[in-house]
Symmetry: C2
Subunit: 293 residues, 2 copies
Amino acid sequence: MLTRLSSATKEVLIGDGGPTVLIGERINPTGKKKLAAALLAGEMDIVRREAIAQVEAGADVLDVNVGVAGLDQVQALPVALKTVMDVVDVPISIDSNNPEALDAALKLYKGKPLINSITGEEKVMASLLPLVKEYGTAFIALTMDDDGIPTDVDRRVAIAHKLVNRAVQMGIPQEDVVVDCLVMTVATDHVAGATTQEAIRRVREELGQNITAGVSNVSFGLPDREIINSVFLALLIGAGVNCPIVDVAKVRPLVLAADLLLGRDEYSARYVKAFRERQKALEAQAAQAAQAT
Amino acid sequence: MLTRLSSATKEVLIGDGGPTVLIGERINPTGKKKLAAALLAGEMDIVRREAIAQVEAGADVLDVNVGVAGLDQVQALPVALKTVMDVVDVPISIDSNNPEALDAALKLYKGKPLINSITGEEKVMASLLPLVKEYGTAFIALTMDDDGIPTDVDRRVAIAHKLVNRAVQMGIPQEDVVVDCLVMTVATDHVAGATTQEAIRRVREELGQNITAGVSNVSFGLPDREIINSVFLALLIGAGVNCPIVDVAKVRPLVLAADLLLGRDEYSARYVKAFRERQKALEAQAAQAAQAT
């Protein structure tokens, strides 16, 4: 199953054994005070800088989220979106559940974006799926519904089925539903990681959907989170995640290694190319540092 | 399926959702000149030191290999084995395919060891399986046979079936067969990593055996091997490996994270305990360094 996203000039394909697609997570004010303040002030410098930096680091898609308390998303989301579209050419994951803000953003978006995200809650589906249909976008289906986030695999998989069925009934192509099986912390529920992996495997098997995931929630409340997050990302890719939402600069070497180890990198070409680029960047840094002293 | 190994005083259980069992790989002269020279000279200091260090680092089982060109294994293997048994109390993986050396080693071993390894080659099965039966050991079944190492999943799985069937026919309990699906480098065959993972999944599904693996071959000939090996170990554990042969000090944090993320660590107890121990060790080092200056 192949999910196609696009910008005005660039197409990104997710799935069918292709390489893992990296969705850059950093244009999101959650936990980022400077970005939140800038967005409130209507300043787009950080957004612009993050967009460029993430694409340089290898992001295939950028997530854009302007969710700050007190900010009018209907006004701010299109501005942020346009800022990003002006400086990079990758497709965008428009990260909002505000129908008016999404509508305003979709009006100016050029290409086929991803909407992040739509839950299985009746009201949410009713207000957002028509936008997916109208603008011909893809969307991320979150496996939670009016009863919250299920702790068990069966119910998460059932919600994925429900969202896919509802979309297809409305005439949205099945491949435009990218599923997120949700990641909860293992600190309070020691099978949380296993539950997510099992749900992913089942959704891949039963529906064939492409799968996204955020990773870092899993280690909330635990020490040495970096290693937990890295190992979890590897496990999730092994289980079937093929377009994670990540800090691209941090995880790209790991993801390229995973693609290599899953048979998605003929002649190790992408892995070796990225290694050489990292080497060159390090050498350039060292040369600069030497000059500076 | 539970595989029980033991020393004179300690039992180790592999499988049934229990934590990953770490088999320490460092008592093996392949590529280690100092250890090779020491073994040739009959000196056991390095063996002793490595045994203690690996168990301190968290090894559950130690692999003991004395394969050096020109060394009489029949004499050397029992000596090395006794050396290890004298200083640590973990079960041992006796790493040899020399029947006389194994027989001499098994005569003095106290407990139930693992024999590493027995291939599907007719001559090898005929000479080594009787030792497994006679001494009641477990063994590692290597998925290669008289035609070499198959490049395809089906034939590797078929060899695993053959070795399990042959063992069971001889009265060896099925759970005493630990399967190694073999790891080849992705540099020359870009699906090599995927092949191993798929073979592991199939052996787990069709036979239920516990699974071991060495990891580092996969990155042979490639740059930045460390990250490839780490990601591969995570992927292999996700696929079903539950007693890898590893450099324990290097990989234990990763493996504890994997266990945590696969639901095998209630209350994150093992992960947090190991983290605290690492912190204490680092603090002790820092204190020593401060005193030294």
